[in-house]
Amino acid sequence: MPAGASGDHRRAAESDGAVSVIPAALATATALGGAGALAGCSLPRGMRIPVVGALTAGVGVGGGAVGVAALGGSRWAAALPGVLPLAGTHLAVDALAGLFMAIAGAVVAAVAVYGIGYAAGHGPHGLGSRTAQAVLPLFALTLVLVPVAASVSTFLVLWELMALASLLLVLAEHRERASVRQAGVWYAVMTHLGLVLLLIGFALFAAQAGGETFAALRAGAHTVSPMVRGLVFVLVAAAFTSKAGAVPLHAWLPRAHPEAPSPVSALMSAAMVNLGIYGLVRTGLDLLGGGPAWWWLGLMATGGASAVYGILQAAMASDLKRLLAYSTSENMGLVLIGVGASGLFAAYGDRPLAALALAAALLHVVNHAAFKALLFCAAGSVLRATGLRDLDRLGGLRPRMPVTAGLFALAALGAVALPPGNGFISEWLLLQSLIHGLAVPGVAVAVVLPLSVALIALSAGIAAAVFVKALGVGFFARPRSEQAADAKEAPPLMLAGMGLLGAGCAALALVPGLLGDGLDRAVGAVGLPGSGAVAGGGLKVRLADVSATLSPLWVVAALTAALLLAVGLPRLYGRRRRRANARLWDCGGGAPTPRMAYTATSFAEPLQRVFDDVLAPEQDVNVTPVRESAYLVERVRFQHRVPDRIEHRLYEPVLRALAGAGQASRRLAGGSVHLYLGYGFVGLVVLLLILAVGW
């Protein structure tokens, strides 16, 4: 990757050579994906999993290569008239698409390696079955191809293929648990609701702008009336934010992610939800060319609500994968705040600041993909070793699964957004863009920006609590169940996949400048000027009258030096003795049992009490007295749950109304054949009347 100051002629030559990389890599990826699907269908079980895994990794590498080439400055476009009926296929790769392809490709490659080890350990059903293995390469392929689509029909076809493939993979373990089917239903309904919204929005846009390729939409966007543009944005934003997992359309996320096999959860959380962000940036900032402030304020409100609500629900969750799913919702909320801020600043005319905010949002997408994929893979490793997802029953995994615990800790460091993790870098950049956003005039801005900073801070603080809970309760102390006590470390392939992701996290944490120019080009693809924020060894923010620097490498070096100092000085002063083992403080009452340790539920209790109004937990106590006397208790049953309040308040009334409408319309079905035929006849006559009159 050319980093900065290479000569112009060399850059031109490199981009010439790189131009042919893109179609070749795309074709390779597609071919490998198809081969993988065939292999999944036809090979016997022993060969199926490694071959499919290797081919899927190949798809990831191919997609990643296209992404890296595009980030390096190459562009490519093609129109294939025959592939789709009527409209043909239009493909285009620019830096923005390249960024998302690179992320998806890298995640796919690492998770595919991990998935070989994961699927090999399960029985004939689940991820190792023919269906799942055949669909996995196709899913990976669609993840890599969706950003390449350059017309509405191509985009929607690829989007739907991605949704269908992921649905089949979510349902892979349906034989083992009944909750998988319910999760599949929720996921199917919500993703298709999103598709319908997308269809309506894009159809409206294409009809008004006079063309369905992205180039035509871009050119014709200014001829569309503001009301239609607003309607299109609202429809499209609803669909894309639902895919990204932002409230209030997030209900599929905490259901589908825990029930899917862990490699699939990792792919969904680290590559698929990003495509919601991609769609939003592409449509809102690029195709529609920006819009009035109310669009972006709404987006920021959604993002802020997602960030706080998501992380609160994660704090309450004791199911490890549900916790991680809600954490995805939180991080996507942060990204939406960044995208919204970018649009807002652009709407008010401050384009350099808008570029900075967008760069922060995109950087957070990259960092989130790295640490979230690793977190889900580690959770899958735990699940495979113990069969448990419940943090309350885990514990004591560190001595038994040291590599998994270490990698989980590395990813959790990124997730809590503290130095030296990678999440801190993107959050710092986001905060800088918001803090300096007060230069933009407007009362709305003055109110919204401090609130956003406060929401980001609150979500970061609670995220720290969440991951202390996940790491401390899940991995440290002593095992609280037999399964946890019998845990063994994951097989080498799974560790290799996780190691790749961990290396990615570490690289992003130490040298974010690797992304440097690529990020600028991605931001430039939507028409905003490059900010040069991420460069060299760290981050520099240089705007009109604003400057700030962050050098992650320096922070790590300083921390290491200080750690050595802190470890060395007492040794110098105190007498050197070996460490002795001692008992834990037990108040004189005998050794503490593992059951006395704080569980995830108890850890989250203070937070739940503080946010009681928002969470509205439900508590149920059933006392069964002894038959002879009402004062002697035979059994007490205590149940405590924290429901998803948005589901309760928003979804249940809608579902009840739909059920009511369905019941009411039963009266339409009288049973008489004449009636049914009559409906059709009257419909036809009315339609003809309208046609006749309308002409």
Partner: protein, 319 residues
Amino acid sequence: MSTAVGYTAVAGQIVVVGAGAPLLTGWMRQVRARLEGRAGAGVLQPWRDARKLLRKEPISPVGTGPAFRTAPALLVATTVVAAALVPLLSTDTPVSGHADLIVVVALIALGTLVLALAGLDTGTAFGGMGASREMTVAALVEPTILLSVFALSIPAGTTNIPAIVHGAVDEPARLASPAGLLATAALAVAVLAETGRIPVDNPSTHLELTMIHEAMVLEYAGPDLALVELGAQMRLTLLLGLLSSLFVPWGIATSPSWAALAVALVLFAAKLTLLGAVLAAAEVFWAKVRLFRVPELLAGSFLLALLAVTASYFLSGAS
């Protein structure tokens, strides 16, 4: 020459915070004892305690792991890096470019986090309780701190601490403005919460159910305990120093000269002595609030910080 002064300033900051923290704690305890009518143990008692603990045998409870063993050192390390960054003595050091306020806040939060993990690693109920409460308080303090950072960075146009301090030295009127005062109050409450002082937490309590910080570190003994205590004391010193640098910046060396550095050292000691005495005196008259009243206190400080930001925006004449 200037770099020698700069490096000395950085080293001086670390040494002052490291060696001066037990002194400050001793001073505060002494002031408190005198106000309560007791003789007190003397200002040097924390140093004596540290020396005693360092000489003891290092102990690891059964069942704990590397998280427990490395937490004290990590705590001290994060505080040392933060002490190097915050311009306690001089704004013109070789590390001034890296001294971002958000980074300093994050480093302090990192210290809290590793201690919470250590508390959970013990597997006892007290460790978990302390960790749980500490993380809750830390989560609720974050918005206040970051909004105060926001408020402070508006007039200076950057989150770089030496730049903010430099700006405050040049324009003292900024500090007396409503925004400055509100930010001071908000940050003061946040500092009390972060360092675990009354009214949020009582550092000298012996009742486990009332502990937040102490419960996490209940299992530490010997040199580990010395490091943990030192870390906590250093955090207090650092945060009080941060408050004084931001809101009473006069005396901090703005140019690389030995004389300015010496003056800064003396003035820093004086400022912290005064602040410590005021805090200790206040603690005599306050009581620790119940754990579930703490969010109300922190919400109040959050409101102050929010008002600081909006006041700074509207009153600075921005349209």
